[in-house]
C-alpha cells in the first residue's frame, strides 16, 4: 500500500495543493471582481438596456389597455373602422391618459409609424372629457344621488378601504383605493375605469375619490354595464338605486361616441390609423428593426417603406462603401510608410515613428478642426491650388461637406491604426528573404510580390479590420466635415436620440451596427488575437 504523502500540517498533499489552487483562483477573482462589477454596471447593462429598447413597445399597451383589448375582436381585414365598443374603450383610456399627461407621448410614439397620429391624439385629448356627459346628466336627473361621490364609493369601494379611510388620521397620503370584488364582477367596465379614476385622483391631484365627482366616461361605462346586463343585482343599501337605473337606461338618450370622435378629427374614420394602433399594440415589436432596413409593418405583413422614406439601406450601404474606401486609402498610404519604418535603421525609424505617433496622440477634435479649416472653400488647400493655377479662383474645389471631405479627414485620422499593425508585422519579416529571392534571379517586383507581400498580408488584415471597425462607428468627423452626403449611420443614430426622439429606432440601428462590429471583431480575434492589441509601440 502506497504511503499517502502528507503536507506539513498533516493533511494529504493532494488536498492541500487543491486548496491552495482554489485559494489562488479566488484571490485572482477577488482582484478582478470590483472592476468586473464596475464595467457591468456602467457599460454592459446600459448596452443591454439599449438592445432591449430596440424591441420594447409597452407604451401602447400600457397607455390604452382597454382599446388594445377591444381591438382584439376587430376584424381588421374588413377595411373598416372598428366597432363602437372600441371607441368607448378609447374614450376611457384617453381620459386616463390625458389626466396622467401620457397621451402626447403615445401620440409621438405612434407618429413614428404614421405621421399625423401625434396631432390626432393631442387634439382629441383636449376634448375627451366631454364624452359621456349626456349620460351623466340623465343619471343625475334620474336620481341626484348619482352626483354624490359618496354614492360611487358606497357602490364600488371595498368595505376594508372605507374602514381604513375612516381610521386614517389625515396625515400623509390617503390609503390607496381598493375596488370591491363584487363590483368587479357585476359592473366590470365601471369598476375598471373607476379604479383608474380613483388612482389618478389620489396620486396626481392628491385628492380623495370620496370627495370628487367621477369623470363623464365613468357614467358612460355604467350605462354600458347596465345595458349589457339589465338584470344585474347588487346587494346592500344601494341596490334600489341600481335597479331603478337599470330600469331607466333603455329609454336613455344615447351618445354616438364614434361620431363624437369623428367630430374631434376626421382621421378617426381612417382605417389605416386603427391598423397602425392595432399593429403596434403588442408589448414587443420587431417594428424598429424593420424600420431600420426600410421595411414597415402593415396588416398584410411586412412591406417596403414608401420610396421617399427609404433611407437606411442607402445609409448602411454608404457607411460600408465609405469605410471600405477609407480602409483602402489607408492600406495604400500606410504600406509604404510601414515598409520604410521597418527597413530603416532603428534610430531613423524611431524619428519617423514620432511623425506617425504624434497624430495618433493628438485630439480627434484638433485633427477634425484642422481639416475643417484646411478644406474650406477659402481654406489653405484651395488657396494653394488657386495660387499654383491648378483651379480657377471662381471654381474652387468643393472638398468639404461631402463624401470627399469625410474620406480625406478620416483617412488621415485612421492612418496610424493601419501603420502600427503593419509595422509590427513587417518588423518580423527577415530582410534576407528578399535578398535571397533576388540572388535567385527574381526582379525587384517579383521578389516583392511573391516573397515579401504574402508575408505582410497578416498585417494588412489586422490593420484593415481595425480601421474598418473604427470607421463604421465614427460620428464626430462625418458630422463636421461630411455635410449631408458624407454622413454615416452613426449620425442618423445621434439624430434620432437628440432630435427626432425616436429612441426605439436609434436603439435598433445601434443594435445592427453593434452586431456588424462584433462579427468583425470576432474575425479580428481569429486573425490577430485579442491579446495582440498594441497601443502606439
Amino acid at each position: 500500500m502506497a504511503e499517502q504523502v502528507l503536507a506539513a500540517d498533516g493533511t494529504p498533499l493532494k488536498a492541500s495543493l487543491n486548496r491552495a489552487l482554489r485559494r489562488q483562483k479566488m484571490r485572482a477573482l477577488m482582484l478582478i471582481a470590483p472592476l468586473l462589477l464596475f464595467i457591468m454596471l456602467t457599460f454592459i447593462i446600459p448596452i443591454g438596456q439599449m438592445l432591449f429598447r430596440s424591441v420594447e413597445n409597452q407604451i401602447v399597451g400600457d397607455t390604452i389597455p382597454r382599446t388594445v383589448e377591444a381591438l382584439d375582436s376587430w376584424d381588421h381585414d374588413a377595411d373598416d373602422i372598428p366597432p363602437p365598443p372600441v371607441f368607448d374603450a378609447l374614450a376611457q383610456d384617453l381620459m386616463v391618459a390625458v389626466e396622467l399627461k401620457e397621451h402626447t407621448r403615445l401620440g409621438s410614439r405612434l407618429n413614428y409609424e404614421m405621421s399625423g397620429i401625434s396631432s390626432l391624439f393631442r387634439k382629441s385629448g383636449r376634448r375627451v372629457d366631454d364624452i359621456g356627459e349626456v349620460y351623466t346628466d340623465q343619471f343625475v336627473a334620474l336620481d341626484p344621488a348619482w352626483e354624490e361621490p359618496a354614492t360611487w364609493v358606497g357602490l364600488l369601494a371595498d368595505p376594508k378601504w372605507i374602514a381604513a379611510r375612516e381610521a386614517w388620521d389625515g396625515t400623509g397620503d390617503e390609503p390607496a383605493f381598493i375596488m370591491s370584488r363584487a363590483a368587479k364582477t357585476v359592473l366590470p367596465q365601471t369598476a375598471s375605469i373607476y379604479a383608474d379614476f380613483a388612482r389618478v385622483i389620489q396620486t396626481e391631484d392628491n385628492d380623495s375619490p370620496a370627495e370628487e365627482e367621477p369623470w363623464h366616461v365613468v357614467y358612460l361605462a355604467l350605462y354600458n354595464d347596465l345595458t349589457a346586463n339589465p338584470s344585474l343585482e347588487v346587494t346592500g343599501p344601494l341596490s334600489g338605486l341600481i335597479s331603478s337605473a337599470a330600469a331607466a337606461v333603455p329609454s336613455f338618450e344615447t351618445e354616438d361616441v364614434v361620431a363624437t370622435f369623428e367630430g374631434f378629427d376626421d382621421d378617426w374614420k381612417n382605417p389605416e390609423i386603427w391598423e397602425t394602433i392595432y399593429t403596434y399594440s403588442p408589448a414587443y415589436t420587431n417594428g424598429y428593426f424593420l424600420n431600420s432596413v426600410d421595411l414597415q409593418k402593415t396588416n398584410e405583413g411586412v412591406a417596403w417603406q414608401p420610396e421617399n422614406e427609404q433611407i437606411y439601406l442607402t445609409l448602411f450601404w454608404r457607411t460600408m462603401v465609405m469605410s471600405l474606401t477609407i480602409t483602402f486609402s489607408c492600406i495604400l498610404l500606410g504600406y509604404p510608410v510601414a515598409w520604410m519604418l521597418a527597413n530603416l535603421p532603428a534610430r531613423k525609424a524611431n524619428l519617423l515613428m514620432i511623425l506617425v505617433l504624434l497624430p495618433f496622440w493628438t485630439s480627434l477634435l484638433v485633427r477634425t478642426s484642422a481639416w475643417k479649416v484646411l478644406l474650406q472653400n477659402q481654406g489653405v488647400i484651395n488657396d494653394l491650388l488657386v495660387w499654383v493655377g491648378f483651379v480657377a479662383d471662381d471654381n474652387r474645389l468643393a472638398l468639404i461637406n461631402n463624401a470627399t471631405g469625410t474620406v480625406i479627414a478620416m483617412t488621415h485620422i485612421l492612418l496610424p491604426f493601419m501603420i502600427l499593425p503593419l509595422y509590427s508585422v513587417m518588423q518580423t519579416i527577415p530582410a534576407t528573404y528578399l535578398r535571397a529571392a533576388k540572388s535567385l534571379g527574381a526582379t525587384n517586383w517579383t521578389a516583392f510580390w511573391r516573397v515579401y507581400f504574402p508575408q505582410s498580408v497578416p498585417g494588412i488584415g489586422a490593420g484593415s479590420i481595425l480601421v474598418f471597425i473604427l470607421s463604421i462607428g465614427y460620428y464626430i468627423t462625418p458630422e463636421i466635415v461630411g455635410g449631408t452626403k458624407g454622413v454615416f449611420i452613426s449620425n442618423r443614430i445621434a439624430y434620432h436620440i437628440s432630435s427626432s426622439l425616436n429612441w426605439g429606432l436609434a436603439a435598433a440601428l445601434g443594435a445592427i451596427l453593434l452586431a456588424i462590429v462584433l462579427a468583425l471583431y470576432w474575425a479580428y480575434d481569429r486573425i490577430v488575437g485579442i491579446d495582440n492589441v498594441k497601443l502606439g509601440g
Partner: protein, 294 residues
C-alpha cells in the same frame, strides 16, 4: 536599405521616388497638425494665411485668439470641466484597472478570455453605441441618485460623466498594465513573501515600483481618452458639464471661431508632452526588464 553601388538608373529613380512618396505621406500625416499652429497666431479672423503672414510681417501675427481662450467664459468653463472630469475618471480607471490586471495575470484565472472580452469591450464597441446605451441608462441613474441621496442635478451630472469616462478608459489601463505584467517576475513576490512581507507590503514595496511605468502610461491613456472624449459626454452630460472637446465640437458645427485654432494648438502641445512621457516610460520599463529599447 541603402542603395548599392551597382544599382541601375531605374533602380536609382525608384529608390528616390519611393522616398519622396513616403515623405509626402508623412507630410500628409503631420501637416494638418503643424499648419494650425501658425494659423492660430493670425491677427485677422481668417482661417488661411493672410498676405501679411506670408510676408512674415509681425503685424500679421497676434496672440488675440489665445487671449480669447483664456478670458472668454465660453472656453474657461469647459476647460475647468475637462480638468475636473478627466482626473477623477483616470483615478477610477487606474485603481480598479490595475487591481484587475494583477488578478488577470495570475496563473490560474477561471474564464480569463470571457472576463478579458468584457473588460476590453468599451474599446471595441463604437462610441456612438456606447453613448446611446449610456444615454438611456444614465438618465435614469441620475434621477435615482438625485432622489435617493438628495444631491444636486449638477453634481449627479458630473458623477455620470466621470463614471462613463472611467468605463471608457479602463481597457487602456488593462492592456498597458497586463503588458507590463507579462515581463514581471512572479518569483519576486514569492521572495518577498518568504522574507515575511504581507501581501500589502509586497504589493506596494515590490510589485508597484516595478509596474509603475505601465500603470502611469495606462493612466495617461485613460486621461487622454476622457480629455478628448466628446460623443459620450454629449449624450450623458448636461450643459453644466460641457467639456473642452464638446465646446470645440459645438464651435465647429455652428459658428466656427478662430479661437478653436488656439485651443487646438494648446492641445497639440499637451499631446506632445504626453507622447514624450509615454515614450520615456516605455523605455524605462524595458530597461527595468533588462531589454534594450529597440
Amino acid at each position: 536599405m541603402s542603395l548599392p553601388i551597382y544599382a541601375t538608373t531605374g533602380q536609382k529613380i525608384w529608390y528616390y521616388s519611393f522616398r519622396v512618396i513616403v515623405g509626402l505621406i508623412l507630410f500628409f500625416l503631420i501637416a494638418p497638425i503643424i499648419i494650425i499652429i501658425p494659423l492660430s497666431f493670425n491677427a485677422e479672423n481668417f482661417f488661411t494665411f493672410t498676405p501679411k503672414m506670408l510676408a512674415l510681417d509681425p503685424e500679421g501675427y497676434s496672440l488675440k485668439h489665445y487671449r480669447d481662450f483664456f478670458t472668454n467664459p465660453d472656453w474657461i468653463r469647459p476647460l475647468k470641466n475637462s480638468l475636473i472630469i478627466a482626473p477623477f475618471a483616470t483615478i477610477i480607471s487606474v485603481s480598479l484597472g490595475t487591481l484587475a490586471a494583477i488578478g488577470l495575470s495570475q496563473s490560474h484565472v477561471p474564464f480569463r478570455r470571457g472576463i478579458m472580452a468584457i473588460l476590453i469591450s468599451p474599446m471595441i464597441v463604437p462610441l456612438i453605441i456606447s453613448a446611446t446605451g449610456m444615454f438611456f441608462f444614465y438618465s435614469q441613474m441620475g434621477l435615482w441618485m438625485e432622489e435617493t441621496f438628495g444631491i444636486s442635478k449638477s453634481l449627479s451630472g458630473y458623477i455620470k460623466v466621470i463614471l462613463a469616462h472611467a468605463a471608457l478608459g479602463i481597457p487602456f489601463v488593462i492592456i498597458t498594465v497586463t503588458a507590463t505584467l507579462v515581463g514581471f517576475d512572479q518569483s519576486l513576490t514569492r521572495a518577498a513573501a518568504n522574507m515575511g512581507a504581507t501581501p500589502t507590503v509586497t504589493f506596494f514595496r515590490v510589485q508597484m515600483p516595478l509596474i509603475l511605468p505601465g500603470v502611469i502610461s495606462g493612466g495617461l491613456f485613460a486621461f487622454i481618452t476622457s480629455f478628448d472624449e466628446v460623443v459620450v459626454v454629449l449624450f450623458v452630460g448636461a450643459a453644466a458639464q460641457k467639456t473642452l472637446p464638446w465646446q470645440m465640437f459645438t464651435g465647429l458645427r455652428e459658428q466656427i471661431s478662430p479661437t478653436i485654432l488656439a485651443v487646438a494648438t494648446v492641445l497639440v502641445g499637451i499631446s506632445i508632452l504626453l507622447l514624450a512621457t509615454v515614450e520615456l516610460l516605455r523605455r524605462r520599463s524595458e530597461r527595468l526588464r533588462g531589454m534594450s529599447p529597440s
